[in-house]
Amino acid sequence: MIQLVDLSPPDLPDVHIAIEAPDTVKFTGTITSRDPAADLAPFLKRVHSAVVAEGLRRVNVDVSGLTFVNSSAIRLFVDWTTWTKQEPDATRYQLRFVSNHLVTWQKTTLMALKSLAPNVVTVA
């Protein structure tokens, strides 16, 4: 069984991704590529699968250092929320976004995600 901490994040030019034990995925930088899904969606899917396999009840998604994302990148977080929502009760986990309230996209987008998936998303 592959655990979350065993995953290797993609090496991308503008965004740094780190996995911090036991349950944190941290993003730093910006996501401005034209098709971020090509780079990031497979990795996030592996994260989701590892979290479910490990039986973790919560994942901290630290985006406090993510200063800008385009709308295509927002869709990645939306997709991740959707995967989590679709899990049965026994394996569903919480997505706890660690945010910086001074960064505009985090205030608006994360609060919107929380409104749309209150049983899955929390914002710290």
Binding site: R34, F68, S71, R75, T82, T104, W105, T109, A112, A117
Partner: protein, 228 residues
């Protein structure tokens, strides 16, 4: 009879100093430009490479002006200045280098919040122009400022159905940007194709910019404006 000019270079970039505010130093701007273009050099597919673009920027080369048919100039006032204007063939290779360049330029030019808004509007408006516009003519980008406002303006050709949709969506956004943003996020949660409206909704709701859409024939110009 309208004379159409198609620049020989894939990018034609003009940057102009503004007399109302001291711009970034030449060294800083060059460094930002170089860093931005170096990073995206591998993504450029045009035959003419970075050297031509750098010459255009360094010399402040003026591309012969486009016909007014293609871009509608804003109402001119004494303190309204075009800072950057770029014309390019519509294509995805345009987007990342331009957004990187404009973001770096804006960070040196404006306070942080305004630079953030300019960067967001630049990306979202250009992305829509490339994704949903017609490739029959160039995409034209303008960054301009007045004493009180900063404008991001993108012009492109579009098919009639798209023009009608854009007008309708701009009206909805002007009426209730927050509501439209939530609607688009909800639709994204339900899945489906990427939505142009989410980008425009971000410009209005997240960046708190006023949006204006003007149509002239098949040419659409979307302007996002914020206060300085």
């Amino acid at each position: 009879m309208t004379t159409r000019f198609r620049p020989r270079r894939p990018f034609d970039v003009q940057t102009q100093p503004t007399p109302t505010r001291q711009g970034p130093s030449t060294t800083a701007l060059s460094a930002s430009r170089d860093a931005a273009y170096d990073r995206h050099e591998s993504g450029l597919t045009r035959k003419q490479g970075l050297s031509d673009m750098r010459r255009s920027l360094d010399l402040g080369a003026r591309a012969p002006g486009r016909s007014s048919q293609h871009t509608r100039p804003p109402s001119q006032t004494e303190d309204y200045h075009v800072l950057v204007q770029i014309s390019s063939e519509a294509g995805s290779a345009l987007l990342e280098p331009m957004q990187a360049f404009i973001s770096a330029y804006a960070r040196g030019k404006f306070r942080a919040k305004v630079a953030e808004r300019v960067g967001l509007a630049t990306w979202e408006l250009l992305d829509n122009a490339i994704n949903y516009g017609s490739i029959s003519d160039d995409v034209h980008y303008v960054l301009a400022e007045s004493r009180d406002h900063v404008d991001v303006r993108v012009s492109n050709d579009a098919v009639p159905a798209r023009l009608a949709m854009l007008n309708e969506r701009a009206a909805r956004l002007q009426h209730n940007a927050a509501g439209v943003f939530m609607d688009e996020m909800a639709r994204s949660v339900q899945g489906g194709i990427p939505r142009a409206m989410l980008g425009l909704a971000r410009v209005c709701h997240e960046a708190e910019m006023q949006l204006e859409v003007t149509v002239e024939g098949r040419r659409v110009t979307v302007t996002a404006r914020c206060t300085r």
